[in-house]
Symmetry: C2
Subunit: 483 residues, 2 copies
């Protein structure tokens, strides 16, 4: 490795030295984002945005396959609308941006820049829904939302972020609950399969649920520093919003009833999850299914054979493109191969193909994996079958590796002293008995900074004692410190 | 036609009676949009939004094929940034929404909700661009923008709208001009081929150019009421923004130079163009390439053979779906076939397939075109080849029909009396000699409400007299009253 090449890597702070700085170094250096002149708002640069587009494609397909259609509701919400649902306004009012003037005039009523769209969507649903024939209403929107955050971190918590928010209306509790859990499963399937991020899935406690929801469910991931990240939520809103927005329908039995509603969302925060689950000291490691570039082709050619190598590399490039593989050719003359390898590794490209004159003579190419660092020589005839197979292998391996890390860092104890030690020294998830009382939950949070990430499904256990108050309980929950 | 069926159509005001009301009736009744509780902001309902998604797909593909990548810049722009370029702020400041408070605190500096993103993007480009190696920068973003409009009309002019805005930086004027015209051509190709809307293309006058641009080009369409609509613009920004934002690069020759920039955009306004170019008294007529539903399948089945007909219709439905045709099955029992025909015609679905028991016995189906109203019987064996062919025919016919209307309503005169009469009585485009003086342009606008829509390329003519001031001129321009 030349001095230049070493310095390149040195610019990324090692995870073990300062994880937060590692994260910032990686997102900036890989040109995923940049800071903007507006406090707390970031620019998503083309490399980061292409990743988001690929993620959108994978999720949007699933959202449509489950019968939903996309729509678009206004960015602005009149103050009076936001205030209709008491819990909702209490949750969001402290963190919204206010528009007070339009053009040169002061507005008669202040407008909120949407922090989420339940209220304005409910207002519309109350006009659109009259009869059971109008139900279910299954609508999703992809948009920007704004929450005025004091402490921000790229992708994880920014004052403006991009997301999708689904909003549905149903005839009764059963249908609403089915929808809520169906979308939770859509998220699990998407995040585990496309992003290779293993999840714990479950219900949020009353303390942690969405402002205005009856029940909130979430998918929870473990970052490689041992902190958890809430990666998506799905809410059964009950009839809370229907009652204040008067969303009623005439049912088959002739009775006027309130609709049951759900809402669910994931955001650009998922990009943060990908970075922190898979990244390493060399930079990003991106899952092939969503990587902006899946394969980088690096011709390695001394001057005298340069033309010949480039021509053959160009043929390979076209073949890969024709096979719908997202491939980039790096034939820049001003950089050494070592520098290029480092750069593409830092950018997390899953697979590198090196093509040199000796390889070509032998009718082969060298493949280097980003996930394991493994290298293999493949004959040019096999290349077009080996590359897609290897990308699938990398995707599967990344998931397995992350799952092993998650499982190795998921502990089981009902002993509070041990719990505190794990949270302080090892982090990760701790599966513990909890009595179900909010007071205990808040005390644990106060004393350890760990929160209940979710109450997993089907995990009732033999009677035992609550982690904190020793009341008898059969309920197991996942605790963790979280982003 | 039953009474019920007649009443359905009666709900749309005829174009000849009140064109504006016809437009509003159609967009509301076809569920393209709805009014929102925020003045001037609309809700784009699933049917309208699916149309927009199909349009986005067609245009995004072209934007990427010409080397651009998508990114995302913040919604908010600090007041001081907006004010940097004098013409720009003068053009936009009167119509922006101001954010003055975040959470419970007053902001130190007011923020503008982006009316367009030149300023914030320039601020970023000044950080990203150092060397000629960094050029060109070719970035596009799809987003919402806000312009506080006093008079609004669905899709055509709303306080918030959706659009794409491309922003590029280049080494010199030649490259910037090439880019500006290349994207104008991308728009022309997209709008004429995918939306079946014929265009005049040309340069905007100094009066009509974008606030801050060196040169603006536009595509101009003719609505069926004889008014023109600016359907997209592409700007060569020169070095105006580069100078105030200090976007410089070290060129190959070692000199520090200002970049040349372009920006270009089209918006949800194009949906208004589709409606007003193709729609008729029965409602929407949507071009097959972007129609949310390309084919509607209506089984017509008396009770005793209902099951049998539905089974066969379901097979057809699956075949059409498998062929990637966007098809809907309308097997609702509560509506008559006549009612359904009216509804799908109102929604502008290009092709209807009727399947009844006698048709099936004869091994055939009835196809009804929305554009001409023409019907034909097709054997079931031929159906899967005939449907795509017919959709292509409809697309081509819609373009030809609109082009004929446009050409029939494009007049040629340099006589101001005749000009005034045409603008008043026939409307349409008027191609006239113009001296090039802004004073004449503004006088014509004042006296006739007609503006110069564009100065077409390569249309110099023999010397003659300016329409208004009789100064000798060889310049021909398109005038029209415009939306």
């Amino acid at each position: 490795m030349s001095k230049q090449d070493k310095e390149f890597v040195k610019e990324i702070t090692p995870q073990s030295e300062d994880y937060s700085q590692w994260y910032l170094d990686v997102v900036l250096k890989a040109q995923m984002m940049d800071y903007s002149p507006v406090k707390g708002c970031m620019v998503i640069r083309p490399y980061g945005f292409t990743l988001w587009e690929n993620m959108q494609q994978g999720l949007d397909k699933r959202i449509k396959a489950t019968g939903h259609k996309n729509a678009y509701f206004p960015l602005f919400i009149p103050e009076s609308l936001l205030q209709k649902e008491a819990d909702h306004v209490e949750g969001f009012a402290p963190e919204v941006a206010w528009v007070t003037h339009g053009g040169n005039e002061k507005l008669a009523e202040r407008l909120v820049v949407r922090p989420t769209s339940e209220t304005i969507i409910c207002e519309m649903y109350s006009r659109w829904i009259q009869s059971y024939r109008d139900l279910p209403v299954l609508i999703n929107q992809w948009c920007n939302v704004v929450r005025w955050e004091k402490v921000t971190r790229p992708f994880l918590r920014t004052s403006e972020f991009l997301w999708q928010e689904g909003h549905t209306a149903h005839r009764n509790e059963e249908e609403a609950e089915e929808e809520t859990l169906k979308m939770l499963e859509v998220y699990r399937d998407f995040v585990e399969n496309d992003l290779a991020v293993p999840l714990f899935v479950g219900r949020k406690t009353e303390n942690e649920k969405f402002a205005g929801a009856l029940r909130t469910y979430s998918i929870e991931a473990l970052m490689s520093d041992g902190k958890a990240l809430q990666a998506g939520t799905s809410h059964n809103l009950g009839t809370h919003f229907a009652k204040v927005f008067e969303i009623t329908y005439l049912d088959r039995d002739g009775e006027l009833k309130f609709v049951w509603q759900t809402s669910w969302g994931v955001s650009t925060r998922l990009i943060g999850a990908i970075i922190m689950v898979h990244g390493d000291d060399r930079g990003l490691v991106l899952p092939p299914k969503v990587a902006p570039t899946q394969v980088v082709l690096v011709p390695i050619a001394p001057k005298k054979v340069r033309e010949e190598v480039l021509v053959k590399a160009a043929i390979l490039y076209e073949e890969l493109r024709a096979a719908e593989i997202r491939v980039e050719m790096d034939d820049r003359e001003e950089y050494s191969p070592g520098w290029k390898f480092n750069e593409w590794e830092m950018k997390g490209v899953p697979l590198r193909i090196e093509v040199g004159p000796r390889d070509l003579e032998a009718g082969q190419a060298m493949l280097a994996r980003r996930d394991t660092g493994g290298k293999e020589t493949v004959s040019l005839e096999e290349l077009m079958t080996r590359v897609p197979a290897l990308l699938a292998e990398i995707q599967a391996n990344m998931y397995e590796k992350a799952k092993k890390f998650r499982d190795d860092n998921t502990h089981r104890t009902d002993d509070y002293a041990e719990f505190k030690q794990i949270i302080e020294e090892k982090r990760g998830f701790v599966l513990s008995r909890w009595c179900g009382d909010s007071a205990c939950e808040l005390a644990v949070k106060e004393e350890t900074k760990a929160t209940i990430r979710c109450v997993p499904f089907n995990m009732e256990t033999s009677p035992g004692k609550c982690l904190h108050c020793s009341t008898e309980s059969t309920k197991l929950v996942y605790f963790a410190r979280a982003y």
